[in-house]
Subunit: 272 residues, 2 copies
């Protein structure tokens, strides 16, 4: 998928929702067996319940790796399931990898070839050379951590105490000059209200993947207003608010309802 | 393992060598089948050939993930093999993970529990809160990327053009104040000669894991002289120079010979 087909998908559907799949075993409804297969069943049920309301799914690798080999198997099965049942949805591996040369190539192979994900989240700490192997894949996205939604974003990414260039400013500036930079998206927290417009000015054409609405306190309408561009340019992620909407046997219906409510808000924002 | 037992192990053995296991399929000797089982056989042969000369093994997760589920299985088998056959060796998962709260907990579970690694490499980009779950494990190490050995280190970690606080200075200062900070090591490139003494002054008691000797141009004796502390405080990594010492059927003997040569140099440095 490229940016223009993503924009088209968003506009047709009236949704820029990404459903984050971060399944913590302890929070699964009681009727699921507490193993990797239980996890997989929960995830596929969430996917089916919310697919009509979102344009992207973002499974987080950590929660699968915690189950060892069987967990990696469940992640692969989940990606294959989404690809087969919901082929128009973007699949983002929330993996936050970041390493040099041959290692980056191997990670790209892992997520873009061995699994058929469409995008991967990446940490830029080791420099922009670490992103290049991912950008060589047509129709795939490299989603670079910029200003994240957590409190720790102020440790290094944005140091408000000092009048120095912030790390996130350097990250965006340097990555924007890379070959195939149209395949880059940025993770920008929806909680980072005071910086959103400024960050958008640094990367006017790139998609922002925005976590942080709901539990973390970010506002959907404010984030959208500050971060949108001419191609929409925004994917808003919701994880816990959707996947744990109910811990009972009605978890899928509850997830569907939450996703539908966000869809409705997004439709309004898009068609104003 | 804690710092003092690592120091003791180093001094007894006369080696602070870490063998990096970064197996690129294309570089495996021709008699190995080009699949995850071939990869595993190559890796266990390297481990057995070099164990007498090193105190740590550092498998890089990317090269296993590139094989999908079977690759993750091979990584788990490799870690279990090292644990069983060479129980006194430190096993470092070179995974460069970095994420918040529950996600970090899940990664810690993946590498410290589902696999029994002793340490994991971590990216600090998202802030120091992302390191805390790992530091709660006694006898495990969180190895934080500080100033890496690649050219990209100068993109963000160290910006020599400007008279500002460098990112790596912030990273070390902030992480040194964390609870259980004695369980932190830092990745510091052996290629970063002009900064080694200074970085050591910022973290006088921490172990440095140092890649970059050999192919990347770092000098073992210079790196050791600049970075050592009262507890040795240095693990020097070599990957390509050892594991690809020969591409023929004698690859294990050649790897052994390279590791033995580094061991001999290290013994001399330690016992001067």
């Amino acid at each position: 998928m490229d940016t223009s087909s993503l924009t088209e998908h968003i506009c047709t559907k009236g949704s820029f929702l990404c459903v984050g799949i971060d399944p913590v075993l302890e929070r699964l409804p009681a009727h699921f067996v507490a193993d990797s297969q239980g996890l997989l069943k929960f995830c596929t049920a969430i996917v089916d319940a919310t697919a009509d309301h979102c344009v992207a799914f973002k499974p987080n690798t950590a929660f699968f790796e915690a189950f060892g080999v069987a967990g990696w198997g469940a992640l692969s099965e989940l990606v294959a399931y989404i690809k087969k049942k919901h082929p128009s949805h973007l699949i983002i591996a929330d993996a936050k990898r970041g390493d040099i040369g041959n290692t980056a190539k191997a990670y790209a192979k892992a997520f873009f070839e061995a699994m058929s994900c469409d995008a991967i989240t990446l940490s830029p700490y080791m420099g922009v050379e670490t992103l290049i192997p991912y950008l060589e894949y047509p129709n795939k996205f490299a989603i670079v951590l910029a200003l994240t939604s957590n409190q720790g974003a102020f440790d290094f990414q944005w140091n408000s105490e000092e009048k120095e260039t912030h790390l996130v400013e350097r990250v965006i500036a340097k990555t924007q000059t890379l070959p195939n930079s149209e395949r880059i998206m940025y993770v920008v927290g929806a909680t980072q209200n005071s910086q959103l417009k400024y960050l958008r000015s640094l990367a006017p054409d790139s998609f922002f993947l925005m976590p942080g609405i709901g539990a973390q306190g970010g506002s959907l309408s404010e984030a959208y207003a500050a971060a949108k561009n001419a191609s929409v340019g925004v994917l808003v992620n919701s994880s816990r608010g959707i996947i744990y909407a109910s811990s009972g046997p009605d978890f899928a219906e509850a997830a569907q309802k939450e996703a539908a409510a966000l869809h409705e808000q997004m439709r309004t924002l898009l068609y104003i």
